[in-house]
Point group: C2
Chain length 202, copies 2
DNA sequence: TACAGTACCAAGCAATTGCTTGGTTGGGCA
DNA sequence: TGCCCAACCAAGCAATTGCTTGGTACTGTA
């Protein structure tokens, strides 16, 4: 009868986490709708029905994958916001933090990128839209602080710049692979260089 | 027995085009796998079986949608490449051209962005990967010309810059809506400003 | 040794899916 | 008038889907 948190049985038994990880990889690669419970079970070496010993639906699997990832991510954003770094440093930290999330949670990021719009239509996943709004607030705040402090050029359209950064950062999940030639720090460095100073010759 | 072209009956009868347009919107909004032939038929006001009078499979519908769009897009790229504009102008034109494509063919762009990876696994859609490579060639050429002519800053990583531009441009299809407050030209202007000169204060 | 709980299997059901088949309708043309 | 043909309907089939049910093997604990 323990009812703390959205996922009462999140006290992962090990196997549960393992299955979620397998599911996350498949959801990220093929899409949620395009992954069958039999696919997941096959990858785990069990029968599809056995999944329902651990989870009560395929939906609750994505739900748990996404919500636990989001919780971790937004905790990190909050820390940046609450720090007393200057505006430019905060922006840099927020960008680096995002690439770090891509490095450590590619499947979760990919699922969110690909499925949030569609899943968000269901009431169960309404928190996805809330998180989106929350993320926008973070960035708009950072950018406005940057403008106010003179760190950013005054002719920027804040809303459009926010979208530019958001899209640019997260879409990297499509090609970035941990363990590849480029570390997530390398990518963040280059992206920040372009973002802050542009590609044109000075 | 006419066998010219990949789609023998592409000589659109009007109704055919109409059905493809309806399908494209649904594919873009819900995803290919997530759109049923009954969804398409309902939206068109006919029964699902009647679709098979016009097309021989759901797959051939996306196929036709994507391949005809790609043909148009790459013709436009070619024109930029063959022009005698300077390097920077060519880059600007290529960016603007992409936003124009998003404006005029949002559904097609969205489908390509969302489904290309998955569909590309099938032999039938191998041309998607080829087009991707072709697009990369275009951009790498433009960027290297820009570096050679001194229009771009010499410390740029060409490969990463290519990805940066590609991702940034196409991902805009997720939020851009024709007829909204911002025209595609507005968006292109702002994006080019950031891309070329960065967001930091000079 | 008895027992409880976790992790799973074996079989199958109801709904949904893409697609097929054989027929009907109505406008254009000779 | 007779015919054609594009466009559609009505019904349904086989496969796939998410999920359920009733049971079994194994492990740790008292």
């Amino acid at each position: 009868m323990s009812t703390e948190g959205a996922h009462p049985t999140t006290a992962a038994t090990g196997r549960r986490r393992e299955l979620l990880s397998i599911a996350a990889e498949l959801f990220a690669d093929r899409g949620f709708k395009n992954t069958t419970v039999r696919d997941i079970a096959d990858a785990a070496g069990i029968l599809s029905g056995s999944l329902y010993h651990h989870f009560d639906s395929k939906e609750s699997m994505v739900d748990e994958i996404l919500s636990s990832f989001q919780a971790e991510l937004f905790a990190a954003y909050d820390e940046v916001l609450r720090s007393d770094d200057d505006a430019r440093t905060k922006i840099e930290r927020a960008v680096r933090l995002s690439f770090e999330a891509i490095d450590r949670h590619r499947h979760e990021v990919a699922i969110f990128q690909n499925e949030a719009d569609f899943l968000g239509q269901q009431e169960r996943f309404a928190y996805l839209a809330e998180r989106n709004a929350q993320s926008r607030d973070v960035w708009i705040t950072l950018l406005e602080d940057g403008l106010a402090s003179g760190a950013l050029r005054p002719d920027l359209d804040v809303e459009l710049t926010y979208r530019f950064i958001r899209d640019t950062v997260w879409v990297a999940v499509r090609w970035y692979r941990p363990g590849g030639k480029l570390t997530h720090t390398d990518v963040a460095d280059q992206y920040l260089t372009i973002l802050l100073d542009g590609i044109a010759h000075a």
